[in-house]
């Protein structure tokens, strides 16, 4: 098992490198560089040339990439040209926020999907089924930012601050700053709206999948045992169906993380959360090359790890699947 994990991680390295290389090249294709913003009013051509030389911005792109890789191999993720701050430190500060957001969004999606799928599977083709599917479909048709705006309107504006509109409170013990008050309650209050805004869009797909998979099991079970056992078997069938349905669902959840990371960018911007999403987009717009590289790296790495976890969960759920 351990060998399998290591092998998978090793196989993922070329993909991660490829992604970072593509991002590296793309960032430098954006017109304008950060030097003008960095020097501000003191800008002179000579200073700009000096700064570009200091940061290696005048070297060929592949050479620059190579230098970045070399530093990375020593554990140095570089420092931001604009703010002078070490990239790794900033990424680590932001990571728990986005991680929590994504995990809870998935939880929200499942919390909607599982009941909807059960209703749909049990009461197939009744109005309850249609309602459940339609509600899921509505969720998928609302853009994350609009859902967020509606939630803000209701809970922060109309209901006068029932839920905080911005910012973040860390869970006790996870705070990366010197001055911090951790609080589970405040943390939950801050994460609820963003998680819901992000999660409802994912619920539709999960509902659909769970429902279809459960139906498959129910049908086959029904055909073979319906006459023999009767309605009392329903809860057993349900449990069996649910467990069976989780396998393809887990796969899809792994794929969904990609959309969650993207959606997190928008939601974090809207709710002023100090997460990786807002970090990434701010860095891209400011042309902060080093920060964007850090962002790309952590995102690619997250993908790989999550897919690995998905595959491992697969083998847990289905004993027939074993990884040598």
């Amino acid at each position: 098992m351990r060998i399998y994990i290591l092998r998978r991680l090793a196989e993922a390295v070329p993909t991660i490198l490829m992604i970072t290389l593509v991002v590296f090249v793309m960032m430098r294709s954006i017109p304008g560089d950060p030097v003008v913003a960095l020097l501000g009013d003191a800008f002179t051509e000579e200073d700009a040339a000096k700064v570009r030389n200091e940061y290696g911005l005048d070297k060929p792109i592949l050479v620059q990439y190579g230098l970045w890789l070399a530093k990375l191999a020593q554990g140095d993720w570089g420092t931001s040209i604009l703010s002078g701050r070490p990239v790794l430190k900033d990424v680590l500060v932001r990571l728990p926020v986005t991680l929590e957001l994504i995990v809870l969004s998935m939880a929200v999606a499942l919390a909607i999907a599982i009941p909807a799928a059960i209703i749909g599977a049990l009461r197939q083709n009744t109005w309850a089924d249609y309602s459940a599917t339609t509600i899921a479909m509505i969720g998928v048709s609302i853009p994350e930012f609009f859902a967020g705006v509606l939630l803000l309107l209701v809970f922060s504006v109309a209901l006068h601050g029932t839920l905080p509109s911005s910012g973040w409170v860390y869970l006790p013990g996870t705070c990366p700053m010197l001055v911090c008050t951790g609080s589970v309650w405040a943390n939950m209050m801050h994460v609820v709206m963003p998680a819901v805004a992000l999660g409802i869009g994912r619920a539709a797909l999960l509902t659909r999948l769970l429902r279809a998979s459960m139906l498959e099991v129910i049908r086959t079970e029904y055909i073979t045992t319906a006459r023999a056992k009767g309605l009392a078997e329903k809860p057993v069938v349900l449990k069996h169906a649910l467990k069976n349905a989780l396998i393809p669902t887990v796969t899809v959840m792994g794929l969904q993380v990609g959309f969650l990371i993207g959606g997190a960018i928008v939601v974090e911007a809207l709710f002023a959360m100090p997460g990786l999403g807002s970090f990434g987009i701010d860095a891209i717009i400011a042309r902060d090359y080093q920060q964007v590289q850090g962002f790309a790296l952590i995102t690619a790495f997250a993908f790989v790890v999550i897919n690995l976890i998905v595959d491992l969960t697969y083998s847990l759920l289905d004993p027939r699947i074993r990884y040598a």
Partner: protein, 532 residues
């Protein structure tokens, strides 16, 4: 005889009540002030980085030689007194003997010289170096006396030291030598050592900035606050929600669009503003590089705005400043013309020189050769830093359409705008608000023909003459005359085209006391206390 204890008790109770009445108005020590900025802090190297958000930290973490009140009076900071020689060339400052840096080292004359020399050194790439153009040298006369020698008289030396950007902010020489520019920019607390009422505890970009009371601050009893926490909330709706919920005590820079709503939601909030000190401009490019190389010394007139008639047609008579102010600022700004904003020293209202007159604008355009046969099309550049820029650009587009001109709006992000507008990139006209001005002398680095940031790229040395004369005139009455002439000259030529003032609002909770509004120049928490 009445019971003596009961009498005494009554007296004591009365005394306590009276004492309580007076105590309620005295400043309370302690508490944390929670501030919200509308934009992220770019960096924390006070001498190098730019941006108001940084300046407003520098004015609390840092101390300088002198400071300035909203009325324009100079007050001591680290320097307890100063003298100016009769010829105006020598400024001698006597430092207090109890000023120390946050690392415990003394703020002495050598430290002051170190700092000014450092700012003036091109290798530092300081963003305020241009302001020290008049300085010849700095001398240490004794441990507590430092003397600045000027090359020529400079009427605004003290203004510059007090409040151009953050004024002169003194860094501990020990810290400067020990830590790198990256450390300072990154806001490492051990590298950001100055002598202000607060010391930097931490800066986690995108999260919060924390500063705590400096126990050895040279003014006894100050500051009242234990701590100030600053975080960034970009969206005004979110700012309002946080303010209403009491999560924030002070909004350092609030959007004018929402002031009415905030007032309705929070009737007891302190909403502070004043005459605008920042100009909102529609800058027209006057020359282009003749050889196509950006920043080339070889200039050719801009194909459209090289002609002053076209500049006047579009910049003077062709836009309705009142309509712009009404639509973009809900009327909460001053329609304005001229290079000195309404709230800046020695300002003169010359807006009447450019009444909205579409007929005259059309006539001027016809003179310059534009008309139905040869319609004028131009590109109007603006950036996404503030939503109001695009609103103004859209209104201008509509207005010039009335005189037969097609303006195509190009909206870019701030970095792209910076690269284009300040680096002699291709543009016709841009809408932006530029630096906030204590004195128009501060604008020399943006408007003189030789300035790197002269985005209009005009080549008229008369502008430089005006700046120089204004800066060297020591008599304030004569200065006012020069200012008036300068305003009129700038209208005549429109190298600099102001549309209106750019309003600035700050909002405080009713329990935040002791704060003095001083426009964008000074955001000072030194005397702030929390009444709760």
């Amino acid at each position: 005889m009445r019971h003596p204890v009961r009498n005494a008790a009554t007296l004591i109770v009365i005394a306590m009540m009276l004492g309580g009445v007076t105590v309620a108005h005295a400043q309370k020590r302690g508490g944390t002030l929670r501030v919200a900025y509308g934009n992220e802090i770019a960096g924390l190297d006070f001498h190098v980085t730019a941006g108001y958000e940084m300046i407003w930290v520098a004015t609390n973490v840092g101390c300088g030689l002198v400071s300035i009140t909203p009325e324009g009076k100079f007050i001591p900071d680290a320097a307890e007194s100063w003298q100016i020689s009769p010829d105006g060339l020598l400024y001698t400052f006597k430092l207090r003997n109890n000023v120390v840096f946050h690392d415990g080292t003394k703020v002495d004359a050598a430290a002051v010289k170190f700092n000014i020399d450092r700012i003036m050194d091109p290798a530092t790439r300081s963003s305020v170096r241009t302001f020290y153009e008049a300085v010849h040298s700095v001398e240490v006369l004794d441990a507590r006396t430092v003397q600045i020698r000027l090359k020529h008289p400079y009427a605004f030396m003290l203004h510059m030291l007090a409040a151009y950007r953050m004024g002169l902010v003194l860094y501990s020489p020990a810290a400067i030598q020990k830590y790198s520019p990256e450390d300072r920019r990154a806001g490492k607390p051990e590298a950001t050592i100055s002598c202000g009422p607060f010391r930097l505890i931490e800066w986690v970009k995108g999260n919060q900035l924390v500063m705590d009371r400096f126990d050895k601050y040279f003014e006894p009893g100050l500051p009242y606050l234990d701590r100030v926490i600053i975080r960034t909330i970009k969206d005004p709706v979110t700012q309002m929600a946080a303010f209403k919920a009491g999560e924030v005590d002070f909004l350092a820079d609030f959007s004018v669009d929402h002031v009415d709503t905030l007032r309705a939601q929070n009737p007891n909030a302190q909403i502070m503003t004043g005459k605008e000190t920042t100009p909102m401009v529609a800058m027209m490019k006057v020359t282009v590089p003749a050889d196509g190389k950006p920043m080339s010394k070889n200039r050719a007139p801009h194909p459209i705005f090289g002609d002053v008639r076209v500049r006047k047609a579009l910049g003077c008579y062709g836009i309705d400043r009142k309509e712009i102010v009404k639509l973009a600022f809900k009327g909460q700004a001053t329609p304005w013309l001229g290079i000195i904003p309404p709230g800046t020293q020695d300002t003169v209202d010359v807006t009447s020189l450019c009444p909205y007159d579409p007929a005259k604008a059309k006539a001027l355009l016809a003179e310059a050769g534009y008309g139905p046969q040869k319609p004028l099309t131009l590109e109007l550049l603006t950036n996404t830093e503030k939503a109001v820029f695009n609103v103004i650009a859209t209104v201008i587009k509509e207005q010039v359409a009335r005189i037969g001109v097609t303006a195509n709006i190009r909206l870019v992000d701030k970095v792209s705008w910076l690269n284009t507008a300040t680096q002699d990139g291709p543009f016709d006209m841009y809408v932006e608000d530029l630096a906030s001005l204590l004195v128009v002398d501060q604008n020399a680095y943006l408007a003189a023909s030789t300035a790197a940031w002269n985005s209009a790229r005009h080549t008229d040395t008369k502008v430089d003459d005006y700046f120089a004369r204004y800066a060297r005139e020591m008599d304030s009455a004569k200065r006012k005359v020069i200012a008036k002439e300068f305003q009129e000259f700038s209208v005549e030529n429109l190298y600099w085209n102001t549309i209106s003032g750019s309003p600035f609002y700050q909002v405080a909770q009713p329990w935040m006391k002791g704060y003095t509004y001083q426009a964008e120049f000074k955001v000072i928490y030194r005397k702030v206390w929390l009444d709760r």
